[in-house]
């Protein structure tokens, strides 16, 4: 009886995953034309048009977020794993990190709106990148800490015994030993934030033009939101195409990095 219920639960999970994937692939594929990748959005009713600016915008904003979020997050992880450990300060930082991880992404968007957008006076791609970086920060910190904990302590002691300074030991020995895990962890975090919409609504906003990072900047997720909510059929079709891009991109990156992580785990 319980076995049957458990199997049904598993089937429910698989079924919905398959349903969503099928719908996005089937509806999205129809929107994918050369123009979709090369042109700017067209007004409703005008044939053609694409989301080239949004594709570029999403890449730029995600890249900016990674440049900000990855190093800071890794340094926090290093502090927790190598210096702070069980100290009270580390406890405070771990607590803050958990709170930030549980904070809804729309709240992060409002925070960046209040601190960056209001002060600079305009929406911008930078603000969007900062919002995504804030969301990335606790994820990277947690992954880094976990991965560094896996490195055996004897390795650190050997490096120190050979006279290596602490920073060289961390970067040259511990990081190298944990490299595979760190890289996959970072890629998973980047993939996750690249699909975020809510934090971009009041920061990067959206734009029908190419736009520089110091202006409102087009991006795929907000484009999906705006186009899907519009009453125009051709815009909704565009939204499906953009959904296709986001889903396939995020899933492929996730599958590859998880697969790489497992391969590595097997070899150990």
């Amino acid at each position: 009886m319980v076995t049957a219920l458990a199997a049904v639960s598993a089937a429910i999970g698989i079924f919905f995953f398959g349903w969503i994937l099928y719908v996005v692939l089937q509806k999205g594929a129809r929107a994918l034309t050369p123009a979709f990748f090369l042109e700017l959005p067209a007004p409703p009713g005008v044939p053609g048009g694409g989301v080239a600016n949004a594709i570029v915008g999403t890449l730029v904003i995600t890249l900016g977020a990674s440049i900000l979020g990855v190093p800071i997050g890794m340094l926090v992880g290093v502090f927790l794993a190598e210096f702070g450990r069980h100290s009270r300060l580390a406890g405070v930082i771990r607590f803050s990190s958990n709170v930030l991880m549980g904070t809804p992404s729309i709240i992060v968007g409002m925070f960046v709106y209040a601190t960056v957008v209001v002060r600079t006076g305009h929406f911008s791609g930078y603000a969007g990148a900062i919002a995504l970086a804030v969301i990335m920060l606790p994820i990277i910190a947690r992954t880094t800490e976990d991965m560094l904990h896996l490195v055996p302590h004897t390795l650190r002691e050997s490096a120190l015994a050979l006279g290596a300074p602490y920073w060289k030991m961390t970067l040259g020995v511990v990081f190298r030993a944990a490299r595979a895990g760190l890289v996959t962890g970072v890629i998973l975090a980047v993939a996750r934030v690249s699909g975020e919409t809510a934090p971009l609504l009041f920061t990067a906003l959206n734009s029908p033009n190419w736009g520089f990072p110091n202006e409102p900047m087009a991006n795929l997720t907000v484009t999906v939101f705006n186009f899907a909510m519009s009453p125009y059929e051709d815009w909704q079709q565009m939204a499906w195409g953009a959904s296709f891009m986001i889903t396939v991109g995020v899933l492929i990156v996730t599958i590859i990095s998880r697969f790489a992580m497992r391969q590595k785990a097997h070899r150990r």
Binding site: T3, S9, A10, I12, G13, I14, F17, W19, I20, V23, V24, K27, I72, L75, V76, V78, F79, E82, F83, R85, L89, V92, I93, V99, L100, M101, G102, T103, P104, S105, I106, I107, M110, F111, A114, V134, L137, H153, G163, P165, Y166, W167, T170, G195, E196, T197, A198, L201, F202, V224, F225, A228, A239, W240, S243, I246, T247, V250, T254, R258
Partner: protein
């Protein structure tokens, strides 16, 4: 319990002067990064308080129980948003927790390792799908299905209940709850799976040795052993569901009425923010929206603290970290 011996700081002083400064810089950098993290969390609280001050002053605690939401007369209250958030989250938890529990048991105890790997992989990917994709699927595919099949079926089965009144529109609080359930399912399952894997093999083997079946072992050893971790898992899922924005915004209907029927369109705190924040031009309107954000941040913070409390208690008792 595995306790790492910390490296005596004396070793650092013996290495040359240059490396000491290198170490100091490195240590300082990690501290600065950590300070940034803590400052951001404090900053979110301070900024939300500051930005919502006008509304806090004008409406006071009455904000939480007022049904008004009128940008023209500048009267604002959070009741309908809080109601929609609580009810949709409640539906999500009622649906997701039992399924997650069964799913985690299936993955850890019942399924063949190969099956477990494939199903587990698919569930992990369910978590990787961005929220807005759930919204697209929910609005254009699942909501029409709800209107045509599920809602009429519910009315047929329990039409007398006040919960299932009104025309089956597809969108509404129930639809939002079901999609939320789907979104938090992989998160709860993942934590529960970890919890089940912590149950000591010796106890399980002892129970098997006494002639228990797999199901009996799960019920009398694995689940009770991990109870605290399971509670923590539920709170983690709750925290995610309560702040989920895009998927809910697509399907909840964005209406401010308060009714018993789950078929009715409603709104949640997050969906109101997503819909109205960029339109809010008057300072008081913006301030009221900021206060909504503050309420949401407060709720998720409390939930996170409770989740960590249970998970830590579990970890302490099982001797991990």
């Amino acid at each position: 319990m595995f306790e790492t011996s910390s490296i005596p700081s004396g070793t650092l002083k013996k290495s040359g002067a240059r490396s000491i400064s290198g170490d100091m810089v490195f240590r300082l950098l990690t501290r600065i990064a950590s300070a940034i993290l803590v400052l951001i969390v404090a900053g979110i609280l301070v900024e939300l308080l500051r930005a919502s001050w006008m509304s806090l002053e004008k409406f006071g605690p009455g904000f939480l129980v007022s049904r008004d939401w009128n940008p023209v007369t500048q009267e604002f209250g959070a009741l309908s948003s809080i109601y929609g958030t609580v009810i949709s989250t409640l539906i999500a938890m009622i649906l997701a927790v039992p399924v997650s529990l069964m799913l985690a048991l299936f993955l850890v105890e019942l399924a063949h390792p190969v099956v477990s790997k494939i199903v587990g992989g698919a569930i992990e990917l369910l978590a990787a799908i961005p929220s807005i994709i759930y919204g697209m699927w929910g609005l254009f595919v699942f909501a029409p299905y709800m209107a045509d099949h599920l809602q009429p079926a519910l009315q047929g089965a329990a039409g007398g209940l006040p919960l299932f009144q009104g025309p089956p529109m597809g969108i509404g609080i129930l639809t939002a709850g079901i999609i939320l359930a789907l979104m938090v399912l992989p998160f709860i399952t993942a934590v529960m799976r970890d919890v089940f894997q912590m149950a000591p093999a010796v106890s399980k083997e002892a129970a098997f040795g006494l002639g228990s079946t797999t199901v009996e072992v799960a019920r009398s050893v694995t689940v009770p052993y991990g109870m605290q971790g399971l509670i923590g898992a539920c709170f983690l899922g709750l925290g995610r569901a309560i702040g989920e924005t895009m998927a809910v915004t697509f399907v909840i209907g964005n209406n401010r009425s308060l009714s018993w029927s789950l078929f009715d369109a409603g709104n949640s705190i997050a969906s109101t923010l997503a819909n109205e924040f960029s339109e809010a031009s008057e300072p008081m309107y913006l301030s009221a929206l900021m206060e909504l954000g503050l309420v949401l941040f407060g709720i998720t913070m409390v939930i996170q603290i409770i989740a960590q409390f249970w998970l830590k208690r579990m970890a302490r008792q099982t001797g991990r970290r």
